[in-house]
């Protein structure tokens, strides 16, 4: 704490967030209007908060206007992250099959064109029971699957690229009200940036975890050092008596720079609220450099620096 930085009364730890490589893809979901595109996107990115139990991490990146989509309809860009290309392919196919194909008026397209191809509509086409039609347009293959509102159009594949998962901020606050306000502001600022998603509910996670557990079967368990309920009970608590609520924001991005930019934007949003608004300290989760190769130093990010 001796090297901590103070900004608007908020202590910025001399610490870093530790992130790890993931496999990522972007898909574009369009629909008759934004409401139905959002229904599909929300469903497809549901139960996708953490690879620990969900198989992938996913979120809505941003809204797309009619001028930005292949079919000229409103849509949403959705990012998926997983620990392997194989698992990502499985998750994307299941989620698109159950949540996008099923949703009225939707169509789905690749949001990244260059990279290893994984199936998007390639296998879903068999739902057409022989009535599916392939259409190659400008070298890209689409599948037209007859459904009860017309046809579901899906690009055959989407591309997988390397991504970065696990960027994070810990927002140590005075109480629940201020912690929620700070976290919401930080998430809002991050959502304005491209190529990142915050996969937890509302972008915020209250059950931050540490690696390992006293139970051998568990790979992760509660981050006891940041649990106010364990203040005074664990000898390595990071909290003070005034820090009664901690929220974490986890960021997955397509590149290190994207994650770093999002963390910077989140910190700046929190600092703008300041200690007067209840944000006492900003820290980050790391595991001594053992978890992943991407280290996002909080103070360097604030100074406009990059990552290591």
């Amino acid at each position: 704490m001796s090297d901590a930085l103070l900004r608007n009364g908020v202590t910025i730890d001399d610490s870093f967030a530790e992130a790890f490589p993931m496999k990522a893809t972007r898909i574009v979901i369009t629909a008759h209007n934004l409401t139905w595109a959002r229904h599909a996107a929300v469903a497809a990115t549901g139960f996708a908060t953490s690879v620990i139990g969900c198989g992938c991490e996913a979120g809505i990146e941003r809204e797309l206007g009619p001028g930005e989509t292949p079919d000229g309809r409103p849509g949403l860009a959705v990012l998926f992250f997983s620990m392997s290309g194989k698992e990502l392919a499985k998750q994307v196919e299941r989620r698109v099959g159950q949540c996008v194909l099923t949703c009225p008026t939707t169509a789905v397209f690749a949001g990244i064109q260059v990279g290893e191809a994984i199936a998007l509509g390639k296998n879903l086409r068999f739902f057409g029971d022989g009535w599916q039609i392939s259409k190659v347009i400008d070298g890209v293959r689409y599948w037209r699957i007859p459904v009860m509102d017309g046809e579901f159009v899906a690009q055959e594949t989407t591309a997988v690229v390397k991504g970065v998962g696990g960027g994070n901020l810990l927002l140590l606050c005075r109480d629940t009200d201020t912690a929620l306000a700070v976290a919401e502001a930080a998430v809002l600022a991050m959502k304005a940036l491209p190529n990142v998603v915050m996969p937890f509910p509302g972008g915020v996670v209250r059950s931050g975890s540490k690696v390992g557990s006293k139970y051998a079967a568990l790979s992760a368990s509660t981050n006891d050092a940041f649990c106010p309920s364990l203040y005074g009970l664990v000898d390595h608590s990071e909290l003070t008596p005034h820090t009664r609520c901690v929220m974490e924001i986890v960021i997955d991005g397509l590149t290190e720079a994207d994650v770093g930019a999002a963390m910077r934007a989140g910190m700046q949003a929190g600092i703008a609220i300041g200690v007067a608004g209840g944000l006492l300290r900003i820290s980050a989760g790391n595991y001594g450099g053992k978890l992943g190769p991407f280290h996002f130093h909080l103070q360097k990010l604030l100074a406009g620096g990059g990552v290591e």
């Binding site: 369009t30 292949p70 309809r73 392939s134 259409k135 347009i137 689409y142 007859p146 509102d149 046809e151």
Partner: protein, 272 residues
């Protein structure tokens, strides 16, 4: 230096088979080598220099400053580079080409782009019968690439076509897209009788709307919306301009067929 300009010395008495004269085949050859290249004329073989004056170009293109209406198989099996003919060409132009670009400023004879697999053939004038179709006895016609005809097309345009795009800015003859397996055909003008006869899959777009074609009795009107694929297709066709430039803004009606061959093909009639 791999670019060459060919100037016709005099019109040949017999038809000439120009197969083998492609940018790839001429790459790296000396002027003497190019002059000695054999081409078929009637039942004899002639050296290329007997028919053309040959000079080098600073660009990589093969340019024929001549009317090649009596020359067949121009760009036959072309696999890259650029060929430009300032006049017309004979039959089989761009046949079996797999890559590259062939531009014909005049007309092309029968079987243009037959069994084409890639690349682009642009004919500024008209094409004869069986363009984008199959060689006699073969199962599949055009199977990739783009054929763009700025004028009119003869009969059997796209016969047995399997993949790729074939566009006619003007009218098309009878049996347009007959036995079509898949791919996209777009016609700016009117089509003759029996459009889509025996087609299994594929899309035939008529930019001039319902007046351009009379769907046969083995086609059924589509009642379902297909707006998404139409936008993808229309936007791709629009880049060719002309009658296709505003397709994406048009309403469509579709007719599905040929139900005698599975019914997975479609005639798309666009109307402002």
């Amino acid at each position: 230096m791999s670019g060459w300009r060919f100037t016709l010395k005099q019109a040949p008495a017999l038809r000439v088979d120009l197969r083998g004269i492609t940018p790839t085949a001429l790459e790296g050859l000396s002027a003497a080598d190019v002059e000695r290249l054999p081409v078929g004329c009637g039942n004899a073989m002639l050296a290329l220099a007997e028919l053309f004056g040959i000079e080098t170009l600073t660009s990589d293109a093969l340019v024929f400053d001549a009317d090649l209406a009596r020359f067949d198989r121009v760009g036959w099996h072309m696999s890259g580079g650029l060929m430009r003919v300032e006049g017309s060409v004979g039959h089989h132009a761009g046949g079996c080409m797999s890559a590259g670009e062939l531009v014909v400023k005049g007309d092309a004879g029968a079987l243009a782009a037959c069994e084409m697999a890639g690349g682009t053939l642009t004919v500024e004038g008209h094409v004869g019968d069986f363009a984008a179709s199959t060689l006699p006895g073969s199962m599949d016609g055009m199977r990739g690439g783009s054929l763009v005809v700025k004028g009119h097309a003869g009969a059997r345009f796209g016969d047995r076509m399997r993949r790729g795009s074939a566009l006619v800015f003007g009218d098309a003859g009878d049996f347009l897209a007959s036995r079509m397996v898949a791919g996209t055909i777009a016609v700016g003008g009117r089509a003759g009788a029996h459009a889509g006869y025996g087609m299994r899959r594929g899309s035939v777009v008529f930019a001039a709307g319902p007046a351009a074609v009379q769907p046969g009795p083995t086609f059924v009107p589509a009642i379902a919306d297909a707006g998404v694929i139409w936008q993808l297709l229309a936007r791709d066709l629009a880049r060719h301009g002309g009658p296709f430039a505003r397709l994406a803004t048009m309403r469509i009606e579709r007719h599905l067929g040929d139900v005698a061959a599975g019914g997975k093909g479609e005639l798309i009639l666009a109307a402002p």
